[in-house]
């Protein structure tokens, strides 16, 4: 017997905020996935918009390559404002 494919559900909680991953569910097609997502993840008005994406269509970075993948950013603290020395007397900077 064939199992229904798995979908990842993303919900936008209110206007102005990005969609956030809410969870996953099984459904035979996109339309049913959307309807089921409404019943499973927004029973209390949690959302104003839902995205569903087949889990198989998501390409994810591998946890074991986390080190080399994010290494370029780790060595650049000067990208953060706290890196710079500013005298206390200087305001609005």
């Amino acid at each position: 017997m064939n199992e229904w494919p798995l979908w990842e559900v993303f919900v936008r909680s209110q206007h102005g905020l990005a969609h956030q991953h809410a969870g996953s569910l099984h459904a035979p097609d996109a339309e049913t996935a959307l309807n089921n997502a409404r019943d499973v993840y927004t029973r209390r008005n949690e959302g104003v918009s839902i995205w569903v994406v087949k889990s198989a269509d998501i390409t994810a970075s591998s946890p074991s390559e986390k080190g080399p993948l994010f290494e370029p950013a780790a060595s650049k603290p000067y990208r953060h404002p706290t890196f710079y020395e500013v005298p206390d007397e200087v305001k609005h900077l």
């Binding site: 017997m1 064939n2 199992e3 229904w4 798995l6 969870g23 996953s24 569910l25 099984h26 035979p28 097609d29 049913t32 019943d39 499973v40 029973r43 209390r44 994810a60 591998s62 946890p63 074991s64």
Partner: protein, 309 residues
Amino acid sequence: MTPDELFQDRIDRGIKIEPKDYMPEGYRKTLIRQISQHAHSEVVGQLPEGNWITRAPSLRRKAILLAKVQDEAGHGLYLYSAAETLGVSREQMIADLHSGKAKYSSIFNYPTLTWADIGAIGWLVDGAAIINQIALCRCSYGPYARAMVRICKEESFHQRQGYEILLTLCRGTKEQKAMAQDALNRWWWPSLMMFGPHDSESTHSEQSTKWKIKIVSNDALRQKFVDQTVPQGEYLGLTFPDPKLRWNAARGHYDFGEIDWDEFKNVIQGNGPCNRDRLRARIAAHEQGAWVREAALAYAKKHEKRAAA
């Protein structure tokens, strides 16, 4: 450090484990067993309450009970999804439930004989579940912890609606209050059993605690439940069916009597009042829904083909 030592180090530092991260086989297996058992409990837990949907005493109570039972279905789905991230399929988990290989919480093998039982389930059974689940929000496995946070947020209305049912009965006629007392008499001890065997008897406790799958011990959670529930019952004017129950000022906790562990084991082994009934209902629902699952898949495939053409 070996992969297992690195893994333990992450847990000790409070870093969550995510689906694709390295994990020892025992950790994966323990979680699959625990999360799927938790999911099955949510799903089977719909049955005793579903028994009263058509007989709820008012439209208000009926709408509330429907919403609660629908929540239990949702909670089952969150948890099945969390378990699937560990590499077990939904079909396999459901097959294990139906074959009796996987367990669910024994509390759902007791019958709901009167309307007051719906109150007692919300107040006591959901109350006990919340105490257990609040602790699990800090569990080391990310998807399980996140599902717990979501469930805890939704579960609080379950407990309150149950208490409100009993409060209404206790403020009603003598017969109604007696019905509430009878429900407490039957549900109190099974609710205490929900926290599992004594710490000294619990088989998986030590390793699960080290892996932060278990955060607080069975006996500590049970004590917390007793401490917060007894004053609530006294407010209702009801009596707990335990002659040894009394406040111990020296300990700062309630003392209570010993659980009938023979009954506990007997129900787990399948000999509770409703074990066979519950499984029969689950299997029938699954089998009778097979044609719907197949038809929906056939429909989706047909449309996929048409769109491609």
